[in-house]
Assembly symmetry: C2
């Protein structure tokens, strides 16, 4: 391990230049105009994998942008096999969004790498690859590894889910390791052991056969109004979700776990950065961090009805629509929750309008026990560079593919990331601290050793 | 009067051909591509006015499309002066909307004139002009007349309101006569003596500083949800508007007037054409026709928030918006109602979000007493062609310029129209029954005589 860490120390500049080169490829997955760039970014990644000594490296086609695969399986059958997941695709980025430097001309300024993808996720994938490079260059890795780097994370990972189903044997492993998250602060590492699940749906409320002139207003239930009345009933005054059976399957969380999670509760400053001086809102009886991690929610992600553009149209829209999502926690089932929400909406829809509710997408919640060896190993690994013990957290968001790894491959999933809250993952001037890049590489060298213990 | 009616009988074909010629000019006021056509339609109208013997005919510039003016003021100072209002502009129309014949190539088929503007409003303006032509060609009119035909009715009449203010002397009259409405059926003429007023406004509910990823859902009041909660509170369970003071200024309506209005209540068939088998909705204690005429309403004309397009974005929108309008009845003041709605929304906005309410537009309600001589004269005039006595009605919609005539010129306003419910005023295959065109011309000949009595 010492040799490997000496290698990383000696190769900081090389590692940085490699990352900068990869970042200069605009691999925006949501825009077909960047299709060739996505292919280029995948091939760059594969070349890098080959150069560092991974085997069976391949750029594998999917229904969309390809997946990059590479492995090294010579640690021995008694050593764990780690499936490392990451993505080479990035969010769209144009100067007009407020960038101070072209997003695909990476630069280092004041100790930070500025570029689209700097943390999300090319920087973090490179942490994983460069840690392995150091190990392979200095006698081999203590664990077996399989790298799976996809190109559609920012556009829903639909093809990856099929790829996993079709390659269960190839992807067989003991642990899934993901670097696609951040730290609480530069001095507080974060170990994410759970993600919320997700079910998304669309509600349409319909009334008249066609849009009507609102001169007729007063005799029919305006669908936009009826939609609002329905939505208003989906929460109780105490902030809880008012859907019969919604909380039935929620796994109780121990006082110990709650106390642990509250170590990384939102600070007043975290709140004000997002919400200014507005008071908080949410389910009574839970702290903010609990509400975004161990409690399920129901959110309105979009509403539309009638005419809401410039100017004014005195119209009564024939329909009104809402996009609704629920974030789910263990052991909620997204399909069951969809049926419960659907039934509740049907029950509260007044007879004067019609409701239809369509399922859009689902993702199961995921959780790894905090005392799992893969979690304990991460805590140890973070100690190499940080004094503060790693905080354990559950993510409020969802990475549907994580649940796929858990469900289809039956893998515990550990998320270790090195981005900081100021890294602006989906915003302008996305950045990655060079120091965090270096520390991340070292930490993963140590982590692979800890896993082998 | 007999001579004039003989003239109309002898000139049916000429009148029809003139209308068809005017209809072939695509005077779409909302689309600048038709600016020259609007000018042409105005000049066609002026030429027609001159040819029939009106005086002081002019195409007068406004900030937008011009106004056409012409008068004949030789009936004597003891005779009333009638200001006739109509418009030469039309709604947009393209084949793709479902027309079975090009909308600006007018044809007569099965006794109906098909073209954009056939009833709304060129056909009805021509009823007014051709009635006067018949009178002027046979010895002169029994009343003084001023014709004011504008070109921006379908786009808000903003310039006309200024034109009226700047020409109060020129437009001075005793009665305002408008043909821009329809009949209840071919056998049931309709005399409209009131229109609802209107106030339109936009509500914005804001929360976080930027759109947020809904993974953070659970700790902040989602603005789309808060907007729905606010809107849901704006009506009581009995369908009445839940805004303090909203009904305070509503002028009581006598039982006699209510009984009269109920003669033209919506039929089951009227309802089903619009709403299918959904049950009705609205303010308890009032019939459908009452709810759309003598009662004020509050309607949601548009809602928007978050992402409501194709697919799904798990976003919490920083803001959500609603377009809200109130239809008003005498003696409600649109500015006062705006203040009441604004105050109510501010009162019910939870502290966890912010509301801003902006006034968009206003129009006063308008009403002419049903026993006014101009109304009585209309009842008599309809008798010439119809056995069923004219039904008295108040329109659910608003023609803001009508209130301007009432307020600025202090004129009683009478609306007599000859379109039928199947005329599809703003839809594809707009039409006007040739029989109604002919009867309309005759009726107005009689009306001008009745007014002079």
């Amino acid at each position: 391990m010492k040799d490997a860490l000496a290698y990383t120390a000696a190769n900081r500049e090389k590692f940085l230049n490699e990352l900068l080169a990869w970042l200069s490829i605009p691999s925006v997955s949501t825009d077909q105009a960047f299709k060739d760039d996505c292919q280029r970014a995948a091939e760059w990644c594969a070349d890098n994998m080959r150069a560092m000594g991974l085997e069976n490296v391949a750029v594998l086609p999917t229904g969309g942008h390809p997946v990059v695969y590479g492995d090294w399986l010579h640690a021995g059958a008694d050593k764990p096999t780690v499936l490392v997941y990451g993505h080479y695709d990035v969010q769209p980025a144009v100067m007009e969004d407020g960038w101070t430097h072209p997003p695909f001309e990476p630069i280092v300024r004041d100790g930070k790498i500025y570029a689209r993808g700097a943390t999300d996720d090319k920087g973090l994938v490179m942490c994983q690859l460069k840690a392995m490079e150091a190990l392979l260059a200095t006698g081999g890795a203590p664990v077996n590894v399989k790298y799976l780097i996809e190109g559609e994370e920012e556009s829903g990972s639909q093809n990856l889910q099929r790829f996993i189903s079709n390659n269960l044997d190839k992807l067989k492993a003991d642990i899934c390791l993901i670097s696609d998250t951040g730290m609480k602060s530069a001095s507080e590492p974060l170990l994410i052991y759970g993600l919320r699940g997700l079910v998304t749906m669309e509600l349409t409320v319909s009334g008249p056969k066609h849009d009507l002139h609102s001169g007729i207003g007063g005799i029919l239930h305006n669908p936009a109004q009826a939609l609002c009345e329905i939505i208003a009933k989906l929460h109780n005054p105490d902030g809880s979700v008012n859907v019969a059976g919604f909380y039935d399957d929620v796994q109780p969380v121990s006082d110990e776990e709650r106390a642990m999670l509250n170590l990384s509760n939102y600070s007043r400053q975290d709140w004000e950065e997002r919400m200014g001086d507005l008071p908080e809102w949410g389910e009574a009886g839970y702290t903010m961090i609990e509400r975004t991690s161990i409690r399920p929610t129901l959110e309105i992600n979009g509403i539309a009805g009638g005419y809401a553009g410039e100017g004014f149209k005195t119209v009564i829209g024939a329909t009104a629509r809402a996009k609704i999502s629920c974030r789910l926690v263990p052991n909620q089932d997204p399909f069951k929750i969809f049926e419960l929400v659907k039934a509740e909406i049907e029950r509260i829809t007044p007879p004067t309008v019609r409701s239809t509710i369509k399922l859009h997408d689902t993702g199961y919640p995921a959780i790894t026990p905090t005392d799992h060896p893969a979690a304990r190993a991460a805590v140890e690994a973070f100690k190499y560079h940080w004094e503060t013990p790693a905080l354990f957290a559950r993510m409020g968001g969802s990475i549907p593919v994580v649940a796929e790894f858990q469900k289809q491959l039956n893998l515990p999933v550990i998320l270790m990331g090195f981005g900081l809250p100021d890294s602006a993952a989906h915003g302008p001037d996305e950045s990655f601290h060079v120091e965090m890049y270096d520390k991340g590489i070292d930490t993963l060298v140590v982590y692979f050793h800890e896993l082998a213990k």
